[in-house]
Homo-oligomer: 160 residues x 2
């Protein structure tokens, strides 16, 4: 997900890819294929997709999934999510968690990932979060630094 | 939050501290003082605490705050939370995020933090999560390793 686009390329992409919230119709626009480039994601049935979509919709502005649609093909070229955590610390502060950012292999290097991440960050800021955090592999530090993030801590995990 | 308790100490703590979900009455049991040991947390008004408590209660099993109450004093000695994220990847998988774990300074070194974290992990497992993740400072790697976590990635943050 390294980027080295020129301003001209970024301008062109502004027309070529439309960033918008996930829609029910996106299951047939390559959403699962895109996610499979990030993590094991077998194709979802229409029912499973609709059920999860409805659960997330019920969370309103506290969970946003954005996708970038390729205007030429109608297929999805990138996706990412942000969820809002409600805390007690910092005067009942809110924290945005950026998750599952993926740019399709064919579309990398055009600044689309950065545009998408900035949109997720804007959403969290508009929702009143005092910070946005994410976890990434060490190789992606440079990409997220370009998006305005600084390295903070260590991520640990426990797998069942 | 370093621990070096003996089995005997752990056993005694099993009676001395009761780990249970956060309650409305906990505002007067030192909840904000405890959180202030973790992060800037000015005292909350009763209204602010009740409002956030209700928001989290509405999330049901998807957001759990546990506290440890000192049986002798009735004050809170530790707290921690886990929230469940609903994903599309991994067949609409669920991920638990452990947040805001704090053990009061006077109670550290008795294994209470580990007991609390293990309870949060159990909750996430019971809820069907395929993993639990958390972010911590490098100094706490050893503590979380003892709780069953392995180091995975880098945490990055963007502060507004």
């Amino acid at each position: 997900m390294e980027h080295s686009h020129t301003p001209a390329a970024a301008e062109a992409d502004g027309d070529a890819y439309r960033i918008r919230p996930l829609q029910l119709a996106d299951l047939s626009k390559g959403f699962c294929d895109l996610l499979a480039q990030l993590s094991p994601s077998p194709p979802l049935t229409e029912d499973a997709f609709r059920a999860r979509f409805a659960e997330l919709a019920a969370l309103g502005a506290d969970h946003l999934v954005l996708v970038a649609e390729d205007a030429a093909t109608g297929q999805l070229a990138a996706a990412g999510a942000v969820l809002v955590e409600r805390k007690f610390i910092r005067r009942c502060g809110l924290v945005g968690h950026v998750e599952d950012v993926v740019v399709g292999a064919a579309t990398r290097g055009r600044g689309l990932g950065e545009r998408l991440v900035r949109r997720l960050v804007e959403h969290a800021k508009g929702r009143g979060c005092y910070k946005v955090i994410l976890n990434c592999t060490p190789e992606l530090r440079g990409f997220y630094a370009k998006c305005g993030f600084v390295e903070k801590n260590v991520q640990m995990g426990l797998y069942f």
